[in-house]
């Protein structure tokens, strides 16, 4: 437990920053128009103000009460998001199967345990199963293997 709710204070601060950025971008780059003929900037500018006000309210309340310690993990999200990023980077130049293997291997590491046998089995199984569903059954045009060089 923290003496004051730091999680909500940071959350509120982020809301204020985000709201300010939204309003700043809208006012600076998009025409505001008039209330009877609103430009594209008016509505988002208002939303930014709403966000900032909510952020202030949230942070103000958090100052007056104790808060729990957040359970933040670093490696699980890193490996999972990294696996998705690897899939995104590989699918176009190298094709579907390398992308599948990459996401399965990298995201499995999020469990912080390496199980080589079951990993190999699931890689082989899903490399056959996914193309069967998406390419064979649904007829989507995704190259399975490619060599860009």
């Amino acid at each position: 437990m923290y003496r004051i709710d730091y999680v909500d204070i940071v959350g509120g601060a982020l809301l204020i920053l985000f709201g300010a950025a939204v309003t700043y971008t809208s006012v600076t780059y998009y025409p505001m128009g008039t209330p009877s003929r609103m430009g594209p900037g008016m509505f988002p500018a208002g939303l930014g103000v709403v966000l900032a006000v909510l952020g202030i309210l949230l942070a103000a309340q958090a100052l007056r009460r104790p808060g729990p310690r957040p359970d933040v993990r670093i490696f699980s999200p890193l490996f999972i998001l990294g696996g998705i990023a690897a899939f995104a980077a590989i699918i176009v130049p190298f094709g579907l199967i390398p992308a599948i293997v990459a996401i399965l291997v990298i995201s499995s590491l999020a469990d912080l345990k390496i199980r080589p046998v079951s990993l190999v089995i699931s890689c082989i199984g899903l490399s056959l199963f996914a193309p069967f569903i998406f390419v064979f059954l649904l007829g989507l045009q995704i190259p399975l293997l490619r060599w860009p060089f």
Binding site: V7, R37, G39, I84, I91, A99, L104, A110
Partner: protein
């Protein structure tokens, strides 16, 4: 007679071979998802969403709706046999369902909850069939001011009524609206918040957002926390599924009360299957002459809630289909499917797309009958599914998410967006912001802006228009009350303690479902 003609039209659509197949597939997948804890209905629908691109909009909706109501059936199976609710809406079913299973009456409990589910769903479908056209007809008179007010009410109610901080719910909704505004403004063709990225001209992909915030973030939260159920599949033996005469006698009124309450709470924004089930349990316990039986395998304690949550599942479609204003994130996804297929939601939907509307409703019957027939014989299979370890399951789920995102436009940008929204979803969970309002705001945001601007043009820039037109004024008044009540009750200490206790209870019962998932279930 027109009504019968419509029903016949709907039956014709629902009984085509293709629609029957996808209805079956949806119900089956829904049950599967419902049984497995740690895989929510929103994640499942957004994952399977890309598969429906290649289908007719009616077929797509039939399948996705099947997943939605199928999870509630499946969830009760896990609640009764394992004391693990597959979905938050089934959490109360554990209280009396699991004791029944321990007394060797698991088969009876499963059979009876299936009956209750079917009864509740049928009740909801009848109301849906009767009321949706009437409401839509009435709504044809609505102007932009009314629509803006309705959407505002939906957003405010769904973000403040659910347990947790009302301020955070409102902030989630607003962030969702901002994300919804990314891309080309439909009225002036100005590109907003795209930062020079051509792929964002058409806006952020609904699928990427839903899969990131719900699918990926949920997996990040569940890894190393969810363990496969430690059960021997052969231990679940169903000695008897035939209820005693006493069981049947005790079940009638709870089912009826549950269905009525569920139907009511299903239509309102912000409430939904979970709240309906919780309230139904509370009511049954209160009206019972023998409240001490509750918690020890009272059949009323499973019949009421299971009838309520299924009725709510069905009536949630009433505002979505009649007004085009969804009350929950799942319904917002359904609406998103329609819009992606180029069908404009709103009160005209029933008259312009009668095949879609009546076909969908008739498919609900088909789907519920399929579920009634599926549930009991396949229990052994469902229990076996529970023993799949999570460390094998989640990489495969991630792979399907990525392939789905990629095929929804054949651009890696969508996959990058999934990663980005996964990070956002994880951050929101750390800061304890609910995710469901974000999705609702995202879908409704652009529509709201459009109606707001149009109403203001018609009123020559006078903000009072929202309070001068009678219907709009009433809706705005309700919105104001909901807002005050929501903020007051969530900031009030007593309410807060109750909310924490509820969340803890639900968390204990549903490992892998975070507090937010519990809220989502209530939507």
């Amino acid at each position: 007679m027109e009504f019968l003609g419509n029903l016949a039209l709907g039956l014709g659509v629902a009984f085509t071979l293709q629609n029957l197949f996808y209805c079956f597939l949806g119900a089956l997948l829904g049950t599967l998802v419902g049984v497995i804890p740690g895989l929510g209905v929103l994640a499942a629908i957004s994952m399977l969403f890309p598969l429906t691109f290649h289908l007719e909009p009616t077929t797509a909706l039939i399948m996705l709706a099947g997943i939605w109501y199928g999870t509630t059936y499946g969830g009760s199976t896990a609640s009764i046999l394992l004391n693990l609710p597959g979905t938050p809406a089934n959490a109360v079913t554990c209280l009396d369902g699991f004791p029944m299973a321990k007394q060797g009456r698991g088969g009876v409990a499963l059979f009876m909850t299936t009956v209750a589910s079917f009864f509740g769903a049928s009740f909801g479908i009848v109301l849906l069939t009767l009321f949706t056209p009437i409401i839509a007809d009435y709504a044809l008179r609505f102007g932009s001011a009314e629509y803006f007010a309705l959407m505002l009410m939906g957003l405010v109610a769904s973000s403040t009524i659910s347990e947790g901080s009302a301020i955070k719910g409102l902030a989630s909704v607003t962030i969702g609206i901002v994300i919804g505004l990314v891309g080309m403004d439909t009225q002036t063709a100005t590109v907003r918040f795209a930062f020079g990225n051509l792929g964002l001209l058409e806006g952020v992909s609904l699928i990427a957002l839903a899969m990131g915030v719900f699918g990926v973030a949920e997996i990040i939260m569940s890894v190393r926390r969810v363990n496969a159920a430690d059960i021997d599949p052969d231990s679940v033996k169903l000695k008897a599924i035939v209820p005693t005469r006493d069981d049947v006698r005790r079940s009638w009124f709870p089912m009826l009360r549950g269905a009525s309450m569920g139907s009511f709470f299903g239509t309102l924004p912000g409430t939904g299957p979970s709240i309906a089930a919780f309230l139904s349990y509370a009511v049954e316990k209160r009206v019972s002459k023998t409240p001490e039986r509750f918690g020890n395998g009272a059949i009323e304690g499973i019949m009421g809630p299971e009838s309520a949550n299924n009725a709510a599942d069905q009536t949630a479609f009433i505002p979505t289909l009649s007004l085009g204003v969804p009350g929950s994130a799942t319904m917002a996804l359904m609406l998103g499917v329609l819009m992606i297929h180029g069908v404009a939601p709103g009160p005209n939907l029933i008259s312009t797309e009668p095949e879609l509307f009546w076909g969908l409703i008739m498919s609900f019957w088909v789907g519920n009958i399929i579920l009634l027939l599926l549930n009991i014989p396949l229990i052994g299979l469902w229990v076996r599914m529970l023993t799949i370890p999570y460390h094998l399951l989640y990489p495969a789920v991630l792979m399907f998410i990525c392939i789905g995102a990629y095929t929804s436009g054949f651009s890696p940008l969508n996959i990058w967006m999934v990663a980005g929204f996964g990070a956002l979803g994880y951050a929101m969970r750390i800061f304890r912001f609910p995710g469901a309002p974000l999705l609702l705001g995202f879908v409704l945001g652009p529509l709201m802006e459009e109606h707001f601007r149009r109403a203001m043009v018609l009123a020559r820039g006078d903000f009072a228009v929202f309070f001068e037109r009678p219907i709009s004024a009433v809706i705005m008044g309700i919105t104001g009350l909901v807002l005050i009540w929501g903020v007051w009750s969530s900031e009030n200490m007593r309410g807060k303690r109750r909310a924490r206790a509820l969340a803890r209870e639900a968390d204990r019962r549903a490992p892998g479902h975070s507090e937010e998932e519990v809220q989502e279930g209530t939507n």
